[in-house]
Each structure stands twice: as C-alpha cells, then as structure tokens.
C-alpha cells in the first residue's frame, strides 16, 4: 500500500518505515569493475555516519567508499547525495579510465541509470549537463530494470546474500562472546548506532565478494541482450567474447 503527496521524490510503503536501514549505491562498469559504494545514512551530521572505529572502516575509505548522511529524516538518496556520488565516485572513475587508456579528456562516457524521480528530474539532468558534459546519461525505460539493468539482473542477489551472511556472522559472534563471558541469555544489540557501525564490515565483505570480473562482465552483457527469457537462463546461455570491453 502506498500513499503520498503528488510530486514526492520517493514513495514509502505504509508500515515499513525501517529506521535501521541505509541506501547502498552499487555501480558496475562493463569491463567487470565494481565501483566503490556510496552508502546513505539517515541524519544531518557526521555523527549520523558509522564511527571511524567500525570494523573495516579504513579498508572501505581506502577503497574509495563514500559514507554520506542524507541531510533528511530518511536514509534515501536525494539530489544532493546523487551529486556527491557523481563528483566523488563516478566522474573520478571515468577520468581514471581515460588516463589509463590514454583517451582525450573530452572523451564521452556513458552512464546508464533508471528513471527514479531524482534521476529523471530536470534539476539533476541540468546539473549533469552543466557540470559533467562528458558523461552521457542513458535512462533505462521505466519498469525494465529487471531485464536491462546489470545490478538488478545479477548483482543485487549475491550482494544481499553476502549482507545476510555477514549479518548472521555478526549475531553469532556477539552471542558467542556473551556466552564466553558467562551470560547465558544475552540481549542482542540492535540499536541504530550499533547496526550502523556493523554495516561497514557487511559492505566491505560484499564488495570483496562482488569484485568478480567474470560475474560483472556477464551481467553487463546480459543487460544488453533481448529480454525474452528469464535472466538466469540467459546467463547460462551466453558465452564471453574476450576483450570485447577493452
């Protein structure tokens, strides 16, 4: 069930206002690279972000992850966080690839995104056109991400599985630690701050698991195929052509 004012940027589903969630922006490139994640947390200040002492925090920062606060009462991406993503993750990636391939600075890059209201808003498109003229934005038709967006086709599933397993591991470790202390009926810590800090390690584990060029290349290839079969059958029937992404 959904209910919201006309013109809202995102529509929440009644009854699932989950306070302990965050938005994870996952991006892949056709050469098999998975870009550093941007994680958006609810809040308006740095204190809303995971602590620097969180497990694997340094690993994520060194890998180029960007942990940002939404500046609002939700954990949803918005115009501001999208601009940050482009400035700090997407554009630097494209620039680095141009440098690596000795391409001219004016070389165009293609960015394929869905038609989420912020993406398709005139405000964001104007901002992209003004600030990143060499990045061409290509929109996946509405409702078609399941067949034409690589992340929906084959990245979200292993990402979520990795996150579930990491979450499970965290709980088990916490329980065992409490048992070792002699506490036979421990209360699991599930406050926002605790889970927010844990999320860094979960993201890092998922990023490592998905840094698999074979997987990313294959889902990118599938996303360009005709959508007349289920994606898994598609995946099974496609072979790679070496060097096609170079």
């Amino acid at each position: 069930m959904t209910y919201t004012e006309i013109g809202s940027k995102q529509v929440a589903i009644v009854g699932i206002d989950e306070k302990r969630a965050f938005t994870l922006l996952v991006s892949v490139a056709a050469d098999g690279t998975i870009l550093p994640f941007q994680a958006v947390y609810q809040g308006k200040m740095k204190l809303s972000l995971p602590a620097a002492t969180s497990p694997n925090y340094d690993d994520t920062i060194n890998a180029g992850f960007k942990l940002v606060f939404s500046g609002t009462k939700t954990y949803w991406s918005n115009f501001g966080t999208m601009c940050t993503f482009v400035n700090e993750i997407l554009a630097p990636y494209f620039e680095a690839i141009k440098l690596k391939l000795s391409l001219p600075p004016q070389q165009k890059s293609l960015w394929q995104i869905d038609v989420w209201s912020v993406h398709r808003s005139k405000e964001f498109r104007t901002w992209m056109h003004t600030n990143h003229r060499n990045i061409m934005v290509n929109f996946i038709p509405g409702g078609c991400t399941g067949v034409h967006q690589p992340c929906d086709i084959g990245i979200q599933q292993p990402l979520k599985l990795s996150m579930r397993k990491s979450y499970h591991e965290t709980i088990i470790n916490e329980l065992l630690t409490e048992f070792d202390k002699g506490n036979t009926a421990p209360d699991l810590k599930d406050t926002l701050g605790v889970l927010r800090d844990c999320s860094v390690q979960w993201m890092w584990n998922a990023y490592k698991a998905l840094s698999n060029k074979e997987l990313v290349k294959k889902v990118c290839l599938i996303s360009q195929s005709e959508p007349n079969l289920t994606f898994r059958r598609h995946l099974n029937n496609v072979s790679f052509m070496n060097g096609i992404y170079q």
Partner: protein, 146 residues
C-alpha cells in the same frame, strides 16, 4: 569505401552541425530537455521504496554459499540447487529445509533441457539414525547413531 579517418569522413563530421542539426545536438550532449521522460510528478515503479519484507518472503537463499550462487549466475546452476517460483535459488541438499516443496525438488530431475544429464534425486541418508538434540551435555559430542 571511405576510410573513417579520411578527409571526406572528417569533412562530413565538420559539416554535421549544419547538415543534420538534430543529430548533432544529440551527439554533442544536448541539453537537459532533450530526452523524453515520464513527468516528474508521475509515480513509477522506480519511485516506490522496495518492501524488503515482501521481497524476502520467497527469497531466502541463505542456505546457499556465495560461491554457489555466483557459480549459478556465471556458469551453470549446480545439480544441488533448485529454483523457486520467484526465480530465487534454493539448496536441494538441506534436509531440514521446509521450503523444499516437491516442485522445487522436481527440478533436480528435469535439467535435461539444458543439455545436462538427468539428475537423479538421491534420498538423504544422513538422518537415518537418531539425532541427539537434547542430551544437555556438550554439543561437541553430538553424533549420529545409526
């Protein structure tokens, strides 16, 4: 045949702004209004927040290892893995998986279409004996007796 780096090709590109202004605008990036997109006030599927609770109802694939899932995505679905109605995968080897309804288990026997040999379902014999669930001593000494 004209070479792409020939004078003729370069000249055609130089003149494109005049000869085909519409295509030139598209090529050169255009403006923010050059694409036809649904109205911002319209609510599309992409604008609705995912209901993760509904999503997870038939998608708990945590009985699979990450390696198995990635193998299924990149190579082939292993014989030990079945597919739910939702397309999500499920391990066929988990004896205590209540989700293993006959329609999922059937898939283990119907893989010939994909070119593989028919997969024969073999009954799990692991639990033929008695499992000491509640012996109230050290779980390390739990074992199957059969």
């Amino acid at each position: 045949m004209t070479c792409l780096t020939s004078f003729k090709a370069h000249e055609a590109l130089r003149q494109m702004a005049k000869m085909n202004p519409e295509f030139w605008v598209e090529l050169s990036g255009g403006g923010a209004d050059d694409v036809q997109l649904p109205d911002a006030a319209e609510t599309l599927p992409e604008d609705v927040e995912h209901d993760t609770e509904l999503e997870d109802q038939d998608s708990d694939d945590s009985d699979l290892s990450l390696e198995t899932l990635i193998t299924a995505l990149t190579k082939d679905i292993p014989d030990t893995v079945g597919t739910r109605k939702s397309g999500k995968l499920a391990s066929l080897t988990d004896a205590e998986n209540v989700d293993l309804v006959p329609e999922i288990l059937e898939q283990g026997n119907s893989a010939a279409e994909g070119g593989r040999d028919k997969r024969n379902k073999v009954a799990n014999k692991q639990y033929q004996g008695f499992w000491w669930h509640h012996d109230e001593d050290d779980w390390n000494d739990d074992s199957i007796v059969g």
